[in-house]
């Protein structure tokens, strides 16, 4: 696997939270979702990767050879968008355009205004409406317009889908596909989310995080095949309880989650076994991690 980012023993310590040590790779040419509950360390991880904060320990290798993000044009090649506080609230869409033009060589103002119009966030040269006066959704749209208007090889987006209406989320997924297709295997997306449902169809690779640690990672198909979703009657569940990682019991039907190697055993006991989708997988894995932690 060709990786655009390789992290080894990455640690970021804060007073009340420690990320890592984590090891992971982001495959080149794909869209990777960083999934975790609020407070799992997704933003810290993205901030550390993008040089917003310095790691306490560990090493990150970018584009196969660079170990210092400040080196050369590395930051030029990475398009980072924070979930919030990216730009001062007193800025207008015009200020965002000028700031990006000054900050990045590969920023295309024309493309930025086209995207602003396409996303319905601002008209060309908008200098009156500040970010303060915009809705959360429009602020995200504006940030996305700014990052998609740049020539980048890696997009790192923190919660890009949150606060977006379904139509805009769908448009964002389309933009993701367009970006990856344009790159022809050379462009990569890494985005974080705590609700994968709306972005599942644009996720190729997933990294699941819990409490500052990576609990699972892999290509979605492979990842989903590592586990099985189990359903059945209460009596069946009494028999297979030991094989289950997580279970939910209702009055009539029960649901559970187990490792794929248990499949045969579960089927023999009379349970219905299915391959989970990414959303189901992430919920069960996070619950399992929580269970293990308590």
């Amino acid at each position: 696997m060709d990786s655009v980012i390789v992290a080894k023993g990455l640690v970021k310590k804060y007073k009340k939270f420690t990320l890592g040590p984590v090891d992971f790779e982001i495959p080149k040419g794909f869209s990777t979702a960083l999934i975790g509950a609020n407070g799992a360390g997704k933003t810290t991880l993205l901030d550390t990767i993008c040089g917003i904060v310095a790691p306490s320990k560990g090493e990150v290798t970018y584009f196969g050879e660079i170990t210092d993000i400040e080196e050369g044009e590395t930051k030029e090649r990475i398009g980072y968008q924070a979930a919030q506080g990216m730009y001062p609230m007193s800025w207008t869409p015009y200020d965002v355009a000028v700031a990006n033009q000054l900050g990045f060589k590969g920023f295309h103002e024309e493309r930025y205004w086209e995207l602003c119009k396409k996303y319905g966030v601002a008209e060309r040269g908008e200098r009156k409406q500040t970010l303060m006066k915009m809705s959360d959704g429009n602020r995200i749209r504006l940030r996305l317009a700014a990052v998609f208007a740049r020539d980048t090889e890696l997009l790192v987006l923190d919660e890009p889908g949150s606060n977006l209406d379904p139509l805009m989320r769908d448009r964002l997924c389309g933009q993701f596909r367009e970006y990856l297709e344009e790159g022809d295997g050379e462009k990569t997306i890494l985005f974080s989310t705590h609700n994968i449902a709306d972005m599942e169809n644009v996720t190729d690779y997933a990294i699941l995080m819990y409490d500052g640690a990576v609990i699972e990672s892999g290509f979605v198909n492979e990842l989903c095949e590592r586990y099985v979703l189990v359903s059945g009657e209460r009596a069946t569940f009494d028999k297979i309880q030991r094989s289950l990682l997580v279970e939910d019991r209702n009055m009539s039907t029960c649901f559970g989650f187990a490792k794929a190697e248990e499949k045969e055993k579960l089927e023999k006991a009379g349970a219905v076994v299915e391959t989970p989708n990414l959303q189901q997988l992430s919920i069960f894995l996070l619950r399992y991690a929580e269970q293990q932690n308590s």
Partner: protein, 194 residues
């Protein structure tokens, strides 16, 4: 031109440098003009305005440097050179603006407004308290420097009154060199530290 307009609009270091430099250079001239003239009053008002503006912007810079202010993520995501330059200038500006603010706003400004040493002294002490709290909050060495300088003034060390103007020029020289030194050294450290 567009960049300059934007920089002014965005309150970038350029405006801080202008405010600080004007204040540092013009103040000794003003003190030489003499007391109680209209020109002096106008100059003092200008200094006061500059001082207030500089202080407000200065706080914004601190937030940015400490990685707490709005927009810092954008600055940190910018490529190395642009961002590094910016941060280094920010640190240099802090030094200059801190000094300028203390000198003009909080001694001359209050004297102008209150025109009474007792009340001015009280307000001055309040300001010191405020600075100290800010320092404890941000743990920024330049604010501590500001507190020390202010303390010296409060204790009666007023170089522009008791010291020959040549010493004043020397002081200005020291500040300018100090700014360059901070720009060259401390700015670099700040960048590495984060």
């Amino acid at each position: 031109m567009r960049e300059l307009v934007w920089q002014l609009n965005m309150k970038k270091p350029v405006i801080l440098l202008l405010a600080g430099t004007f204040a540092v250079i013009l103040f000794p001239i003003c003190t030489m003009i003499g007391e109680d003239t209209v020109l002096e009053a106008i100059c003092r008002m200008i200094f006061l305005t500059l001082g207030v503006t500089a202080l407000m912007l200065y706080e914004e810079r601190i937030l940015l440097l400490r990685g707490k202010g709005p927009g810092y993520t954008f600055y940190r995501s910018m490529p190395h050179t642009a961002e590094k330059e910016k941060r280094r200038w920010c640190v240099a500006d802090l030094f200059l603006v801190t000094t300028a603010s203390v000198w003009f706003l909080f001694y001359e400004g209050l004297r102008l407004l209150v025109n009474d040493c007792g009340s001015a002294g009280f307000l001055y002490a309040l300001f010191l308290g405020y600075l100290l709290c800010t320092h404890l909050f941000y743990r920024h060495p330049y604010i501590l420097l500001c507190v020390i300088i202010s303390g010296m003034f409060l204790l009666g060390f007023r170089p522009w009154v008791s010291v020959h103007w040549a010493w004043m020029l020397l002081a200005v020289g020291v500040f300018v060199l100090g700014e360059v030194w901070f720009y060259q050294n401390i700015g670099k450290l700040w960048v590495k530290e984060r």
